[in-house]
Symmetry: C2
Subunit: 460 residues, 2 copies
C-alpha cells in the first residue's frame, strides 16, 4: 500500500467515487411505486458490490417483504467502539415529471452542480460513507474502530422492513454510536443533527353520493364530498397554523432552556432565507414562535395531495361520489403515531358534515428522536466537522422525519446523530433536485475525519 | 306508400330505429377531450346520413372551430309555422372509467334497459326526433308544418360553435317554435320544461411556493396551496348551502305567484326521491327553500374536481407549488356569466390567504332561459304529451343548463321548450348511464304526436 494519508487517497479517487455515485443515481429506485420494485432490487445489489469493493466484510442483501436491506461490517478493532452507519438507496417519485429540465435518472453536471433524483437525498451520503470507510481501509489497511453498515431501500415510503429488522434482531447490529447519514447541512455550514420530528402520514377518504351525479340535476340538494373535504381540512388547522386537534399540544415534552440557548448560537436569518427558498412574501404558521421552533420543535399538519372529481382538460358538470387527501402530521418528542392517530380520527369525525362518511387511514408513521447534545460521541463529531470546515459546526434539529433514528435509539441504546452533505437549498423531493459536486467530495473527507475522531475516543 | 298511420310505421321500424341509435352510441364523441375530435366528426357524418335517410333536405355538415354543426330542413308547408329541432350528438367523458360494468361505447341491452355513454343524454332524443319526422314523412309523404334541424357536438363542453352560428346567422334558422330535444322526464311521467338554469364554469388555480417543497424542511413556515384552496372553497359557500358571494342573490328576478302555483300541481315527493337517488340520509342546501326551488330556481355553487400535489399509491411528503379546482355556479333568470364572474373573482380575491396567488379562469358559460307557460306552442305540446301518456304532463324547470335555449330565445324570438325521454333516474353524466328501451321507443311516438299537434295550430 503506497498511501498512508486517506485524504490524499480520497482526492486521487475523486472520479472513481463520482462514477459509483452516478451509476447509483441512474437506477430509478422509487420505493413508493411498486412498478419500480425491480429497480430497488438492482440498487441494493449495486450498493452491496460497492461495499465489497471498498473492503467491507460479511456483506448481505437481506430480502424483506419490501425493498431489501444491505448489511456489511468490518469488526477487526477489538476493544474499540462500534459505529453503525445508516443511509438509504431509495428515492422519492419524480412527479410532477414535466417540471424536470434534465432527465431525473441521468445525473447531469452543469459546472459544480449535479442534477438528478436522489443526488442530495440520499445517494450522496450513502456513496460518501462507503467511500470514506474504503479510503481509510485502503490507506492504512485498518480502521480505528469497528463499523457496521445497515442500508435500506424504503426510507421514502415508510421504512417498515428496517424497522422490523431492528426491532426483531437488534443483536445483529449492536453498536455504541449510530451515524444516520441522511438529511443535510446549511449551505457551506457544517451541521450535526440531534433531533428529528416524527410523522403520522394518513389518507382521508370522503364519501358523498353513492355515485357521481349531474350537478344540474342535483346541485343544491346533494352533499358534495369535495366541499366536505375542504371543510374538514380547514377544521384541522386554522389560517394561523394552529392545529385544531384537541389534545395534540398537551402531549409535547417541554423544550429545555439549554437547548434554546444552543439555538441562539446559530447565526442565520432563517426568516428571509425561508422566504427566498419558498418564493413568497410571507411565511405561514404560528407566528408566536420563531421559524426555527416552528420547523424543528412544533408539530405541523400538512396536506400533500388532494384529488376528487373531474381533472381533465375542459369541463364536466359532476358532483363526484368521493374525494381524498393525503394528510400528515410532523410529531415532536412526546407525540407518537400511536397516540396522535386517535386524536386525528376523533377530530375528523367531529367535523365531518352531515350526509358524508369520512375515514382516516394511516399510511405510515415514525417516532420523533432526540439525542443529548453533551454526549462524547456527539461532541467529538462536532469537533471533527468543525476542523474539516475551519469553522464551528452547528447543532440542529431537523423538521423532517428520519423515523429509523428513533428506533435505533430505542433498540440499541446508542448515541444517535444525523449527518449529511446535501445542502438545504438542494430541492430534495422536488423536480430538479440538485447538489454541489465539490460539497459531495468534501463530505467524503469530512466523514473520514469523523470516523478517525470517533476511533480516537476512549472505548465506551 | 302503404302506410298512412305514422305510429304504426314507428312500431314496424322499431329495430331499424334502435339500430341507428346503437350505431351512434358506438361512436365515442366526447367533446371535452381533444383526443376524440375525429370521433365527433364521425358522429356528425353519421347523423347527417340519418337525416338524409329519413327524407330531410338541404343537409349540411357545418365545420366550425370546434365540433361541426349538422343542419337539415323540410320547408314544403307554406303558411305553416317553422319548428326548429335542436339536439346534441356529443357526450360526457366516461371517467371514472373503472366504475363502468359494461363497455361505455358498446350499447348493452339487459331486459328493457340499455347501458352506454349517451343513451339518455342525448343520443336517444337526437335519434328519436329524426325518426319521428322520418316516420311522419314516410307515412304521409308530407309534414304538417315546416321543420329545421340544428344539431351540435359541443353541448357537454361549452357549445361555442352553435352559439356563434345562432348569433351571427340567425336568419338561416328563422323559426316560430324551438324544440330543444335534450334533458328528460320524471320516471313514466310526461314532462315539458319551460326554464333551465344558466351556468358559469370556471377553474380556480392557486399558487403557493415557487416549487414543490419537502414538508419536513418547510412544514410550519411555507404556505400550502391545497389548504389555501380548501379555505377559499369554504369561503364561497357555507355548510348550509348559502353562497357567500356578495351581490349574487340581488341579481335574481323574482319568482311569480303563478309559477309557484304551478309547482303545487306536481305530485311528487322530491325530498325522499333525491335521498334515494343520492344514497344519503340528508340533503344539503338552503333548507329554508323546498327542494324544487333549490334545484330549479336558486343559484347553486359546486366544485366538480380538485387536484394538487401527490395522488399516487403510497406517500410523498411534499408541499406542492399549486392546486386547482373546477368550480361552477348554476344561474337563474337575472344572472348571467358576465354579471356573475366579476362577483366571483372579487370574492376569491377577498378570501385568498396571504402568500398565495389565486386566479379564476372562466371555462364556459350559458344564460338561464325562461318561457311563458301560457304560450300556444307550449300548451299545445303539453296537451299532445298528455294524450300520448294518458295522464297530465307536468310543466317544470330544469336545474341543469341548456345554454342554447336562452340563445335561441334571444336571437329568434321563438317560443322555446325542452323535451326529452330519458328519465331522471338514468344516471346522465355518471358511469353506467342507462335508459329504458321501451321509453326510447315511446318517445318517438310522442314526438310524432307533438309535431302533428303543432302542425294543427293556426299559423303564427
Amino acid at each position: 500500500m503506497n498511501h498512508s494519508d486517506p485524504h490524499k487517497l480520497i482526492d486521487e479517487r475523486r472520479e472513481e467515487i463520482f462514477a459509483d455515485y452516478a451509476e447509483l443515481l441512474r437506477i430509478p429506485s422509487i420505493s413508493a411505486l411498486s412498478a419500480h420494485d425491480a429497480d430497488t432490487q438492482r440498487a441494493a445489489r449495486f450498493v452491496s458490490e460497492m461495499l465489497r469493493h471498498q473492503g467491507l466484510e460479511h456483506i448481505e442483501v437481506i430480502q424483506t417483504d419490501g425493498a431489501p436491506l444491505v448489511y456489511a461490517d468490518w469488526m477487526r478493532a477489538p476493544g474499540k467502539p462500534i459505529l453503525l452507519i445508516y443511509a438509504h438507496y431509495d428515492v422519492q417519485p419524480i412527479d410532477p415529471a414535466r417540471e424536470w429540465t434534465t432527465p431525473p435518472f441521468e445525473p447531469t453536471v452543469q459546472g459544480d452542480v449535479v442534477y438528478g433524483r436522489g443526488v442530495t437525498d440520499d445517494k450522496n451520503n450513502l456513496t460518501g460513507t462507503i467511500h470514506a470507510v474504503g479510503a481509510l481501509l485502503a490507506a492504512r489497511g485498518t480502521l480505528p474502530l469497528n463499523i457496521r453498515f445497515l442500508l435500506e431501500g424504503e426510507e421514502e415510503s415508510g421504512g417498515e422492513a428496517i424497522e422490523h429488522f431492528v426491532r426483531t434482531q437488534p443483536e445483529r447490529i449492536a453498536s455504541d454510536i449510530v451515524m444516520v447519514a441522511d438529511g443535510g447541512m446549511y449551505p457551506n455550514q457544517p451541521t450535526l443533527c440531534y433531533g428529528c420530528r416524527g410523522i403520522l402520514y394518513t389518507e382521508i377518504v370522503v364519501q358523498g353520493p353513492q355515485r357521481d351525479l349531474h350537478s344540474g340535476g342535483f346541485g343544491g340538494v346533494a352533499p358534495n364530498p369535495i366541499f366536505a373535504l375542504a371543510e374538514i381540512l380547514t377544521q384541522l388547522k386554522d389560517s394561523q397554523g394552529h392545529i385544531l386537534i384537541p389534545g395534540l399540544y398537551a402531549l409535547m415534552s417541554p423544550i429545555s432552556v439549554s437547548e434554546r440557548a444552543l439555538w441562539q448560537t446559530i447565526d442565520r436569518d432563517f426568516d428571509s432565507e425561508y422566504r427566498a427558498q419558498i418564493g413568497t412574501e410571507v411565511l405561514t404558521g404560528e407566528t408566536e414562535y420563531g421559524v426555527i421552533e416552528r420547523n424543528w420543535a412544533r408539530p405541523t399538519l400538512e396536506v400533500h395531495g388532494i384529488i376528487g372529481g373531474f381533472q381533465d382538460e375542459g369541463s364536466k358538470t359532476v358532483i363526484p361520489a368521493s374525494a381524498r387527501a393525503k394528510v400528515s402530521l410532523r410529531l415532536v418528542p412526546g407525540q407518537t403515531p400511536e397516540n396522535v392517530l386517535p386524536l386525528l380520527r376523533a377530530r375528523v369525525a367531529a367535523v365531518t358534515p352531515a350526509g358524508i362518511k369520512a375515514t382516516v387511514e394511516p399510511i405510515h408513521g415514525g417516532l420523533p428522536f432526540y439525542t443529548d447534545v453533551t454526549s462524547p460521541a456527539f461532541t467529538t463529531t462536532m469537533a471533527a466537522l468543525s476542523e474539516e470546515f475551519g469553522k464551528p459546526a452547528w447543532a440542529v434539529r431537523s423538521g423532517g422525519s428520519i423515523p429509523i433514528s428513533a428506533i435505533f435509539q430505542e433498540m440499541l441504546g446508542a448515541d444517535v446523530f444525523c449527518i449529511g452533505f446535501g445542502q438545504s437549498s438542494d430541492g430534495a423531493h422536488s423536480p430538479n433536485e440538485h447538489t454541489s459536486v465539490s460539497m459531495f467530495h468534501r463530505g467524503v473527507h469530512a466523514l473520514a475525519r469523523v470516523i478517525d475522531a470517533l476511533g480516537a475516543m476512549p472505548a465506551v
